[in-house]
C-alpha cells in the first residue's frame, strides 16, 4: 500500500513563498499580512517574541491551518499537504507516544511521511546509531531523558530526507551541549541541500545559523532579508577608552554617546574611522582601547522590531 518516497525534481523557485497571509482567531489577528520568500537551500530564521505569530505563520505555511486571507506556495505546491512527503516538521510542543520505543517512534513519523515501515525502521536504526542512541532504540520514550526524547523527535522529522525542514523553536528545552548538536545537525541538513526554516526567540542561534531572517512583531514582518542586510541597517559601534577625561577630542564624540564599563560607546560617524582616529589623536585623548564593532543581529532586531519586543524576548530567554 505504501510507496517508497522517490526524490522529486528540485524546483528552481523559492522553497516557500507567502503573500499577504492573514490569520484571525475570533477578534484576535494573530498574523497580519505576512509576505516572505524563503530561497531554496537556505537556513532561514523567523525571529520574534512569543505571541508574535511565528507558530501560526509556520502552521499556515505547512497547511496545518488555513489562512483567513492570502496565499502561500510550498515547494511549488499551493496546497502544502501535497508536498507533505518532502517536508519535515518539528512543532514547538514536542509530542511522542510515551509507551512507544524510540525506534518505532522515529519509524512511525517516517511512515506518516510515506516511507514503507520496513525502510523507516532501517533508517531509524541508522539515525539512532549515528546520534549515539543505538542502545536506546528499544526503550520506551518515557524512559528517555528530555534531551534524548527531543533528539528522537528531531530524527523523526528528518528520517524521510525532506527537502524542506521546518523547526518551531527547536532549541527550547535543550541544554548547551544538545543545542550545539542541534546546530550542527541543522548545518548538516543544509549542506545536504535541504531548506531549513526555524523560528526562535533566541537571536544568538539565528545569528550563528541563518543566512536570511524574517523578523516578526505583532503578527507583521518587520524585516525579511539577509542577516548582513539587517545588520547593515545600523552603523558600526565604536567602543573607546581614553586616559584623558576631557579635552578638544571630545568635540568628535556624538552627543548621544553612552558610557559602558569605562568605555564610551557610540555609532561610527558617517565620515568613517580615519577622521575619527585623527581627531582623537590630535585632540589628545590618550587612546587606551578602541574597537569598532559590527552591530549584531540583536542590535538590528532592536532597531527593526522595537525595543519593547526585544525586551520581551530577553525576558522569555531568561524564563
Amino acid at each position: 500500500m505504501l510507496q517508497q518516497v522517490q526524490p522529486k525534481p528540485v524546483t528552481t523557485g523559492p522553497a516557500v513563498e507567502a503573500a499577504k497571509l492573514v490569520k484571525d482567531f475570533g477578534a484576535t489577528r494573530a498574523v497580519d499580512g505576512v509576505s516572505l520568500t524563503v530561497p531554496t537551500g537556505t537556513i532561514y530564521g523567523v525571529l520574534g517574541p512569543n505571541g508574535a505569530g511565528k507558530t501560526t505563520l509556520l502552521r499556515m505555511l505547512l497547511g496545518i491551518i488555513e489562512p483567513s486571507l492570502g496565499s502561500r506556495r510550498v515547494l511549488g505546491h499551493e496546497r502544502p499537504l501535497d508536498a507533505a512527503q518532502e517536508i519535515g516538521y518539528l512543532p514547538e510542543e514536542r509530542g511522542l507516544y510515551p509507551a512507544m520505543h524510540a525506534r518505532e517512534a522515529i519509524a512511525f513519523m517516517g511512515a506518516l511521511r510515506g516511507l514503507p515501515l520496513r525502510e523507516a525502521r532501517r533508517r531509524a536504526d541508522a539515525l539512532l546509531a549515528d546520534h549515539g542512541l543505538a542502545d536506546w532504540a528499544k526503550k520506551p520514550i518515557r524512559n528517555l531523558s528530555k534531551g534524548m526524547a527531543q533528539t528522537v523527535q528531531l530524527l523523526g522529522t528528518i528520517i524521510h530526507k525532506p527537502r524542506l525542514i521546518v523547526l518551531d523553536e527547536p532549541f527550547s528545552g535543550l541544554d548547551a551541549i544538545n543545542q550545539a548538536r542541534l546546530e550542527e545537525l541543522i548545518r548538516g541538513e543544509a549542506r545536504n541541500g535541504a531548506t531549513i526554516i526555524f523560528s526562535t526567540h533566541v537571536i544568538a542561534h539565528a545569528e550563528r545559523l541563518c543566512e536570511r531572517v524574517a523578523i516578526i512583531a505583532k503578527g507583521k514582518v518587520a524585516f525579511d532579508g539577509r542577516v548582513d542586510d539587517a545588520r547593515a541597517r545600523l552603523r558600526p559601534i565604536v567602543r573607546l577608552r581614553t586616559r584623558e577625561a576631557d579635552g578638544p577630542w571630545r568635540s568628535v564624540i556624538p552627543a548621544d554617546a553612552r558610557t559602558e564599563d569605562d568605555h564610551l560607546v557610540f555609532e561610527l560617524p558617517t565620515s568613517g574611522p580615519e577622521p575619527l582616529l585623527k581627531a582623537l589623536i590630535d585632540g589628545g585623548a590618550g587612546i587606551e582601547a578602541l574597537a569598532i564593532e559590527r552591530p549584531g543581529l540583536h542590535d538590528a532586531f532592536v532597531a527593526i522590531a522595537g525595543e519593547a519586543a526585544a525586551a520581551a524576548m530577553a525576558e522569555e530567554k531568561l524564563q
Binding site: M1, L2, I65, A84, P91, M109, R191, I203, E315
Partner: protein, 416 residues
C-alpha cells in the same frame, strides 16, 4: 483520497498495535467474562431452585386413570435412572379439537411444554419438538411398555414440529432485543475508550505532527478503524467463548436457540455489520467531542450528555422490537444514530434483506458526514495557535528597557 487512506492506515496500524499489544487489552478481553462469571454463579443457584419448575414437560392428554398408570411406570423408571433425567409428565383433560389443544399446549410457557402425548390407551401419539429416536421418545416408549401391564405395547407415533407461531414471534423479538443490547453496551464501552484515546493523543501533543503530515480526516478514520479492528478481535474472542459456553450448557448448542427471521448466518452477518455501523457512527460523534476537549475533565463534562443521549437513542431503537413496521420503528430505522440498533431488531423479526442494504448505505453516508464535520471542527478549534498567555497579560509582562546587548566583532559566517 489515497493520501487520506494511506495516512489512516499508518495511524490505524499504530493504534491497533498499541491497543492490542498492551497488557490492558487482556483485561479488555476478559471484561465480559466477569459479568458472565457472576451470572454463572448466581444463575447456578437460581437454576437449581427453579430447575424442577422450569424443566420442560410432556403434556399427557389422558384420563386420570390412564395418567396414573403412566405416572406409576415413570416412578418405577426413576428407581433405575436419575429422576432429574427422566421425562416429566403433566396431565391435561382431552378437548374436542385435539389439534388445537396440541398447538395451544406447545405454546404454553408455564410449564414449558416440550411435546404432547395423546391417545395413550389406543395408538399413542407424540407431537412436539422431539426426535423419534431421541431420549424423550425413548423414555416414553419404556413408560408406555411398563404401563401396558403385560399387554403388547402399541408403537409410539412421533410427529416432530417446530415451535408454535406465537412462541416463534416472541423468541425472535427476544433475539432482536438481545442483539440490540449487546450492540448498545459494546458501542458504549468502545466509544468511551475512543474518547479517552483522543484526549491522550492531544495530551501527548502528537496531533500537530500528524496534522502536518496527513489530512486530519486520516487521524479520525485511522483511529476509528483501529478501534473497530481491536473490538472485532474482541468480538471474535467473546463470540467463540459465548458459543462454547452455550454449547456446554445446552445440548445442541447454538442450533437450539430460536431462529431469527433472516436465518442465523445472515442475522449474524447483519449484526456484525450493524455493530460496525453503530460503533462508527457513535465513534465519530465521540471523536468529534474528544477533539474539542483538552482535558479529561472537559471530556467527562462533554461526554455525559452524549452518553445520556445514547441511552435515549437505545430506548428509541427498542421500539422496533415486537413491531418492526410501526411508525416509531420506521422512524428509529431512518434516524441515523438509532438506525443500526433498530435494524438489528428488524433482522431478527423480518426476513426481507433489501431494507438492510438501504439502511447500511444510509448509515455509511452519515458516518462520512459526521467524520467530515468532526474533522472540520477539530481543525478550526484545536489547532489554533497564539500566545500561551492571554495577550493582555503578556503586554503587562513586557519590561520596557531591559535589553541584553549582544554585539560581536566577528560574526560567524552563515552555515559555517
Amino acid at each position: 483520497m489515497t493520501k487520506l487512506l494511506r495516512g489512516a492506515f499508518v495511524i490505524g496500524r499504530r493504534d491497533f498495535s498499541a491497543t492490542v499489544l498492551s497488557k490492558t487489552f487482556l483485561f479488555f478481553l476478559l471484561g465480559p467474562l466477569f459479568p458472565l462469571l457472576f451470572g454463572a454463579i448466581f444463575g447456578g443457584i437460581g437454576a437449581s431452585v427453579a430447575n424442577s419448575r422450569e424443566r420442560p414437560v410432556v403434556a399427557v392428554v389422558a384420563s386420570p386413570a390412564d395418567f396414573a398408570r403412566l405416572a406409576a411406570a415413570r416412578e418405577r423408571l426413576t428407581a433405575a435412572v436419575d429422576p432429574d433425567r427422566v421425562v416429566r409428565l403433566a396431565r391435561f383433560d382431552a378437548e374436542p379439537d385435539l389439534a388445537a389443544q396440541q398447538k395451544r399446549l406447545l405454546a404454553t410457557r408455564d410449564p414449558p411444554v416440550q411435546a404432547v402425548l395423546s391417545n395413550v390407551a389406543g395408538q399413542p401419539q407424540l407431537v412436539g419438538s422431539v426426535r423419534p429416536e431421541g431420549t424423550t421418545a425413548g423414555q416414553l416408549r419404556l413408560i408406555l411398555a411398563d404401563s401396558a401391564a403385560g399387554r403388547e405395547p402399541l408403537p409410539l407415533g412421533v410427529t416432530r414440529t417446530q415451535s408454535s407461531s406465537g412462541s416463534l414471534t416472541r423468541d425472535r423479538a427476544a433475539t432482536g432485543q438481545i442483539g440490540q443490547m449487546i450492540l448498545f453496551f459494546l458501542t458504549l464501552l468502545l466509544s468511551t475508550m475512543l474518547l479517552s484515546q483522543m484526549v491522550e493523543e492531544k495530551s501527548n501533543k502528537i496531533i500537530e505532527v500528524v496534522a502536518a503530515a496527513v489530512p486530519i480526516e486520516s487521524l479520525f478514520v485511522g483511529k476509528l478503524f483501529a478501534m473497530a479492528a481491536a473490538s472485532l478481535l474482541g468480538l471474535i474472542v467473546w463470540s467463540a467463548a459465548g458459543a462454547g459456553v452455550i454449547a456446554s450448557l445446552k445440548a445442541g448448542g447454538l442450533a437450539t436457540l430460536p431462529q431469527p427471521a433472516t436465518g442465523w448466518p445472515t442475522f449474524l452477518a447483519l449484526t456484525a455489520t450493524y455493530f460496525a455501523m453503530n460503533y462508527l457512527l457513535f465513534g465519530a460523534v465521540f471523536l468529534t467531542i474528544g477533539a474539542q476537549a483538552s482535558t479529561v475533565r472537559e471530556v467527562q463534562t462533554l461526554s455525559m450528555p452524549v452518553t445520556f443521549g445514547q441511552i435515549l437513542i437505545f430506548a428509541f431503537a427498542a421500539t422496533a422490537v415486537g413491531s418492526p413496521n410501526s411508525g416509531t420503528a420506521l422512524a428509529a430505522e431512518a434516524f441515523p444514530l438509532s438506525s443500526p440498533l433498530a435494524m438489528v431488531a428488524r433482522a431478527a423479526q423480518q426476513p426481507e434483506i433489501l431494507p438492510h442494504l438501504a439502511a447500511i448505505a444510509w448509515q455509511i453516508l452519515w458516518i462520512a458526514v459526521i467524520l467530515r464535520l468532526g474533522a472540520a471542527l477539530f481543525r478550526k478549534t484545536v489547532l489554533k495557535s497564539g500566545p500561551r498567555l492571554k495577550w493582555w497579560r503578556r503586554a503587562a509582562k513586557v519590561v520596557p528597557m531591559r535589553i541584553e546587548t549582544r554585539t560581536t566583532t566577528e560574526p560567524l559566517a552563515p552555515g559555517s
